[in-house]
Symmetry: C2
Subunit: 349 residues, 2 copies
Amino acid sequence: MTEIKAYGAETNTSDLKEMNIERREVLPTDVKIKITYCGVCHSDIHTVKNDWKGSKYPVVPGHEIIGRVISVGNKVTHLKEGDLVGVGCMVDSCRECSACNDNLEQFCENGMVGTYNGKDKHSGGHTFGGYSESIVVDQHFVLTIPENLNEKEVAPLLCAGITTYSPLAHWKVKKGDKVGVIGLGGLGHMGIKFAHALGAHVVMITRSEGKEKDAKKLGADEVLISKDAEEMNKHKGSFDFLLNTIPVKHDLNPYLQLLKRDATMVLVGAIEPLEPMHGGSLIIGRKSIAGSLIGGIKETQEMLDFCGAHNITSDVEMIDIQNINEAYDRVQKSDVKYRFVIDMESLRS
Amino acid sequence: MTEIKAYGAETNTSDLKEMNIERREVLPTDVKIKITYCGVCHSDIHTVKNDWKGSKYPVVPGHEIIGRVISVGNKVTHLKEGDLVGVGCMVDSCRECSACNDNLEQFCENGMVGTYNGKDKHSGGHTFGGYSESIVVDQHFVLTIPENLNEKEVAPLLCAGITTYSPLAHWKVKKGDKVGVIGLGGLGHMGIKFAHALGAHVVMITRSEGKEKDAKKLGADEVLISKDAEEMNKHKGSFDFLLNTIPVKHDLNPYLQLLKRDATMVLVGAIEPLEPMHGGSLIIGRKSIAGSLIGGIKETQEMLDFCGAHNITSDVEMIDIQNINEAYDRVQKSDVKYRFVIDMESLRS
């Protein structure tokens, strides 16, 4: 048996078979999905390694889930057997609070239920994610995937896609806006695609040289090397919007200088302490810095429909589940263009 | 002669008479003002002490200026001899750029001209502020003061007033909103008055106990002691808007926790590096932190008219110019309720 470090890290390795953890019976509003593909998100690794504390083992990661409906409860309205569907970062929420009523289940005031490592009200234990053969999810949290899209490449839209689409939509990025996407990884490459599809003039902002060709292929109009003070100065005060996908601690000040008066930079990557910000970076020019977290279910469906209409998918590298440990090592070295997707058939073989 | 440290700090003390620095002749669009009162702003001290670098000596501070028009140029349209007028932090700007066209001269792309220590295009030297007998200013930068207000108490509206009014107006604070005003000094006491007049439920947020009575007199409905973790927790996620007037380096995270989803905290005080912010403080709840700098001339006039209509002025302590050094010492110890105003008649005696 292959020991999967992914499944519980060093503290709790296990064999592949345990990934097929038992799922609940299909309740009236439930949908049972045969998982075909599952994307590998950096959050999976953080949870496996207990970086954010609170990880419950065994961890079955995976919240970029694609599959086909294999059965539905008798109160399921909009889905049927055979439908191509997706499940993202959430599988439940209270559906009564002000956030849920505003279609922002990710901010549920009673706590949204994460697709893995969340508090499962059915089992009383914790939820298990998409590195598995199947999953049972309430219909409200099951998305419909446009059939014209390449199924394998759709998986990362459920997390990386909505994480970058939502702020562009919420802050109303439009045709002709000058938009900077900071960081070229799983999130950044989707940010470029969406901003380009929205008609923006897209500038890929990165510390590393040599990414120009790739960035332009994704839809960037320009590449700005953030280490080049002279180039940064040329772009000073010129951006309508900045999407900051950097996943680690960094200095915000040089990026804030790039914003126009009254413009906003949105953080989607760094859920950790940042380097000290200068008050003047915001006060001079009445600038804003904000955060954004995935997106609500309604907006996730809108994003998927937008992808269907514009033929947008993720750039992926396919792996078998047996290669998950190597994939994790490579994600941590940013050595993937731009998202690993697991062919879940490999778990069945 | 009294040596005034205010006037050039240790590097360049001077006597009172030198404050009556020569002013330019009255040009066609100029207004000459006999200064009656001038507020003492913390910026005056920063400039005198060269804290922000770039101070040019001799410094004549003062950008909360009240006075009467004594003469006008032949192209002056809306002001005449005898009018009660004010001058705030700016005396010029390019009036052609996008910021100026948007009535936001404070963000003039070619650089607004500060009332003191700014680059004076007329003299070729630097500008001199309101600790003086008179001043000559282009009519565009001269505000009309409602005659029903107490003249002495109006001076601080020109800086502390507009600095706090502008963000409340720009972020559309309205009746019933729960608004927190952080810090009770020159800025904070005006923030409370304005938020109260706008119909908000106002919470004064302060580190120090014992300010409850004063805060309530100013219009606060509640006082929240930021050092009390239990109290802070009770108010978590409940504020529609936070006006942060703290003038020094501080930790933003505890305040960001107080904001509702999608709400904003605006910095108006700390033009300096802040303590590290946690990305999650913004990402969880899609919160924003922004900055705001005084206000444009049009909005400053709106603020003064609002004050006229609601009978709002500053709480002041009157001093003679001969006591300026002691006043500076007390400002630095936050020992003033809430703004010193100099009776400029004392310079004439």
